[in-house]
Amino acid sequence: MTELVGLIVAKYNFWLYIILMMIGLYAMIAKNNLMKKLVGMNIFQTAIILFYVSIGYKHGATLPIIQGDHGGHGTHGAVIHAAEYINPLPHVLMLTAIVVSVATFGVAMALCVRVYRRYQTLEEDELRIRLSEK
């Protein structure tokens, strides 16, 4: 039991992202309203973004801005230790992923507007009835 708790505490970022992801996935599968599904989709994507952000973190490290080296280009001052700085690369990747998720969300909302104008509803079961009427 203590081993399991230890595992959960040591890798808590993984557990958190998986819980968030499952909340999003549940909303996408179980919810009846298209807008709620979209919110679920956004939670799903955000979970992955948080996962990436968390893997760049190191204990006792600081922001990846080189300190105490004004003007020079690393020739003066101390040698730069990578372990002292948080890995910025996953964060940079996530800037792109955020843009992608915003774009997807925008397209999906535009489509929801079109669906609503056509059928006057965003509930999936009502949409199914409207589609089978024709």
Binding site: M28, I55, V107, R118, L127
Partner: protein
């Protein structure tokens, strides 16, 4: 430095930008710019293919940054072939579809051409890139543009189909992204070659690498519509405007198969996939189920367009199963089938588009007398159908031949049986269509007299010429199948 690999991807990208601008001056300019841009990238792709055949793998450093830090375009004989295929189909489809775009979406034609070029950028980039994260971004560019273009189709239904596609497509892309995250944790790199080198140094089976592999492959399977994950595809492709359905049906799923093959061979390595993991048997069974399910669902359709979309689902099973047989013949068959299936599906959808252009509806009840009124289109459809069934001079036979040989070598008799059964089902499907088109009398809805002869209402020449070219390509790819396998595919596999 030879800049052809960059021009290949950047031509449609800048084309999309200028198409959008030029539409303010005159809407038809955007079409000519799109035509020029895809032609340019086609020429560039052919040049790159020439370079690859002359001097081996081409590596291009984007903006001069050296890999593994910078993004690299890496083109070997496998993706050079796929690049030529994509740009050729994109160009021919533009030539063929201008009339149907003008008819279906006259007010939004410029936006269609802008999105079309961005879609082509995505496909070319996915194929050319040597960087795992870049691949994700380009997959999303491809998907986002397809959502918007599918939504240009039939009012209401196409929007719902596009929304469903978004929900499932986002899950697929996110799984892939997660997989890349695990690979990054393990290796600290995103360059495919670099990741492959570091993975080889990890002894035994690491569970992080296994998670990465499963997530990446699952994500790609969702995007390529492997059977239980296929639900988005039939509606999305059936309600899209014809001009887009014609390019997305042959290319999107096939490019995703290419990504799967690339991940298996270049990133994780065949040794890891087949010797360390023991998933191959299960995946071949998945392929078998996809083939049979796709074929039988196609049997129950009463609309030519819907039927063709289920045939795509069936063909995906061929390629996934073939790639996972675990021998060179199966892999060569799967890669050859990427090329052949793209050509066959393109020809089928070109013919379909011509029929839609003339008849508006393609339910089976609307197809009577097509052989008499549209003989050229039907000739193309028959040739493509024969190729799907797998009749020898056409290319479909040869990739099936390699797949069946691979199945026997691997002892996967169920896969060979599924291939043959699906060929028979396809024969039934197409001959059912031909019977309606050939024998059933024309409905005279207007009450006119039948003047003894039938008036030909063939599609315009601009739609027939691409169909003719692709039909020629189907036969040529069949005749030269051995050359293609020996000069392009086998050197890559060794």
């Amino acid at each position: 430095m030879n800049h052809m690999p960059a021009i290949l991807v950047l031509a449609p990208l800048s084309g999309a930008f200028f198409s959008g601008l030029a539409a303010w001056i005159k809407p038809s300019f955007s079409y000519y710019i799109a035509l020029a841009a895809t032609l340019l990238s086609g020429v560039a792709a052919t040049c790159v293919l020439g370079d690859v055949m002359a001097a081996g793998t081409v590596q291009y450093r984007m903006a001069g940054w050296a890999p593994p830090m910078g993004i690299e375009l890496r083109i070997d004989s496998l993706n050079a072939m796929v690049l030529v295929l994509i740009s050729a189909i994109a160009f021919l489809n533009l030539v063929a579809s201008v009339r149907s775009v003008d008819r279906e979406i006259p007010d939004r034609a410029p936006s269609f051409y802008v999105m079309y070029q961005l879609f082509v950028v995505g496909l070319l980039g996915v194929t050319a890139t040597g960087d795992l994260f870049n691949l994700y971004v380009l997959i999303e560019i491809t998907s986002l543009t397809s959502y918007t273009m599918i939504a240009l189709g039939e009012e209401g239904r196409s929007h719902l189909a596009a929304l469903n596609y978004i929900f499932i497509g986002v899950i697929g892309a996110s799984f892939y992204l997660l997989g890349v995250g695990y690979l990054y944790i393990t290796t600290g790199s995103l360059n495919m070659q670099d990741v492959a080198v570091i993975l080889k140094q990890i002894p035994g089976s690491s569970s992080a690498v296994l998670t990465a592999f499963v997530l990446c492959i699952l994500g790609v399977w969702i995007k390529m519509a492997l059977f239980p994950l296929h639900v988005w595809l039939p509606n999305a492709y059936a309600f899209a405007p014809v001009g887009f359905a014609r390019v997305v049906a042959p290319l999107m799923t096939k490019v995703m198969v290419y990504v799967m093959v690339r991940l298996m061979i270049t990133v994780f390595g065949l040794d890891y996939v087949f010797n360390t993991l023991h998933l191959a048997d299960i995946v071949v069974w998945l392929g078998v189920i996809a083939i049979l399910a796709g074929a039988f669902m196609a049997l129950f359709q009463t609309d030519l367009r819907k039927m063709l979309t289920y045939i795509i689902v069936c063909e995906i099973g061929y390629m996934v199963g073939g790639a996972w047989l675990g021998n060179t013949l199966g892999m060569a068959g799967a890669i050859l089938h990427i090329l052949n299936d793209a050509l066959m599906t393109f020809a089928l959808f070109l013919a379909l588009g011509n029929i839609v252009y003339v008849r508006k509806q393609v339910a089976f009840s609307n197809l009577q007398g097509l052989f008499a009124t549209m003989p050229w289109t039907m000739a193309g459809l028959v040739l493509a159908a024969l190729s799907i069934i797998g009749v020898p001079p056409t290319c479909g036979f040869f990739s099936k031949w390699y797949l069946v040989l691979g199945a026997f070598e691997a002892g996967a008799y169920h896969f060979a049986a599924a291939l043959i059964i699906s060929s028979l089902v396809c024969a039934v499907l197409f001959f059912k269509v031909f019977e309606i088109c050939f024998f059933e009398p024309m409905a005279t809805s207007h009450g006119h007299h039948d003047y003894g002869g039938v008036v030909m209402t063939e599609a315009p020449v601009s739609m027939l010429v691409p169909l003719g070219l692709v039909s020629t390509a189907i036969v040529a790819a069949g005749v030269y199948a051995g050359t293609i396998v020996n000069t392009l595919i086998l050197p890559f596999l060794q």
